[in-house]
Amino acid sequence: MQDVKPLYEAVLRGDAAAARAITEQALAAGIEPIRVVNDYMVPAMDEVGRRFECNEYFVPELLLAARAMKGALELVRPLLVKSGIKPLGKVVVGTVRGDLHDIGKNLVSAMLEGGGFEVIDLGVNVSPEKFIEAVKSKNANIVALSALLTTTMPAMKLTIDAFKTAGMRDQVKIFVGGAPVTQKFADDIGADGYSENAPGVVGLAKLHTGAAA
């Protein structure tokens, strides 16, 4: 019986080579692709997020784990697609207009991909119109906004308002985050969720798309 438990350890440790090798073996041994993802990879990323929130893991550990997960997922994804299994959701990610900071946003993208979501990363200095256009063209159901400056936070409200004006507010869940952003600010501007850090966005996304937490 193929022992896939080391896959959990490999992702947690950020060992990309081991994660790929074990995944290859597991798939070759006939283990169901969705089991490989849901029973080993996803719990590993959940644990990575928990350790980050407990200040045991920092950005390097996050990046290494996300990279290991992503590399292993590349082997599994074609098989999931073939059997009709879709990503948990489609997330449009971007740093808001006027803000050029991307490290936080990149971490969010990495964690969401590691968490099983399809990510459309629009980059930095993204206008409300561009967010709307991306949701339309990619049929996304989640929008994640990042800002690192208090002075660019107002653009988050503008973006949410733009979705309202376009009659699309109910089609998407909009989450906000970034160093100066707070829960209160998120509530005041009508966001659906706020996360203090990158791993937290995955939990929010799963909650709001009805995926198993």
Binding site: F58, V59, P180
Partner: protein
């Protein structure tokens, strides 16, 4: 110790400056506008900020060159993207006009905004950008260089090594705002680890800036003091920023800020100033606090 630093520190802790971004915003810098570009377009306003700090008592002021490395400039308007040498030269000249012989000009070198670990840039590209900026600042007559607001020790090491190619004294300042006790950088390193790395890279002064408020700085300072014999550089924020009716507000007052100065001095700080949210008023309070405690 470099003679410039020895001279400065000979009579006790040195007052550095406060925030430039908020001071420029008060003079019309727009949201999302790149502050360093004002060295070219609004040199008079930049000089006013510099003078404000000299008049408040700063014996060391920095320059409006925090983002003026090639990598960050490439993200800006094409009108300024290639003007690395000019923006840095003007930055030093403006600060020098404000200081005259009354204070020293320590030129600011901030992060590239890219993460080495993600492969956004190569170490060589990063080193080249920092070396280019450092050389431009040195050629314009800066007294020293300050590698500041660093969140990644790997980037900081490259920046310090690049800055040292100029032969000027180099300050290396990290941001400690992660971890249970706000004593880790974003990448997870501690003051002790960074002190070793930065000293090895050639830093002449080691310290911390930005962060989550001055109260955390006393502990960080104490830990750096225990880890290194180099002079220590402390520049805390005036608390955490809040968005109040579309304006950025920092809640710590100059008086509250200055209350921590004696503890910082006792913890070994040699250079004391402020970061985001501070102003000439903060520097006056710090200078007064230092004058009191030296009596």
């Amino acid at each position: 110790m470099h003679p410039l630093l020895a001279d400065l520190l000979a009579h006790g802790p040195v007052v550095t400056d406060g925030a430039w971004g908020t001071q420029l915003q008060a003079r019309g810098l727009a949201v999302g506008e790149f502050p360093d570009a004002w060295n070219l377009t609004h040199p008079g306003s930049v000089e006013e900020v510099a003078r404000g700090y000299v008049e408040a008592g700063s014996r060391v002021i920095l320059t409006n060159t925090f983002g003026a490395n090639r990598i960050r400039l490439a993200e800006q308007d094409s009108a300024i993207a290639g003007r690395v040498a000019e923006i840095n030269r003007c930055g030093v000249e403006i600060s020098r006009r404000a200081t005259g012989a009354c204070a020293k000009v320590f030129a600011s070198i901030g992060p590239t905004g890219k993460l080495l670990m993600s492969g956004d840039v190569t170490p060589d590209e990063m080193s080249a950008a920092f070396t280019e900026q450092a050389q431009a600042l040195a050629a314009a007559g800066a007294d020293a260089l300050v590698v500041e607001s660093m969140c990644d020790i790997e980037e900081a090491k490259l920046a310090v090594a690049a800055a040292k190619t100029t032969g000027l004294p180099v300050v290396a300042s990290m941001v400690y705002d992660h971890g249970k006790n706000h004593d880790r950088t974003m990448m997870g390193t501690t003051p002790e680890q960074d002190a070793v790395s930065l000293a090895e890279a050639g830093a002449d002064v080691i310290g911390a800036n930005c962060g989550r408020g001055i109260a955390d700085f006393v502990t960080v300072c104490r830990r750096l003091r225990a880890a290194t014999g180099l002079p220590l550089w402390m520049k805390a924020n005036a608390g955490l920023p809040e968005l109040v009716q579309d304006r950025t507000v920092y809640r710590t007052t100059p008086e509250e800020f200055a209350k921590h100065v004696p503890a910082l001095v006792a913890a070994g700080a040699g250079f004391i100033g402020g970061c985001c949210g501070t102003s000439p008023g903060f520097i006056r309070a710090v200078a007064a606090g230092l004058a009191d405690s030296s009596q």
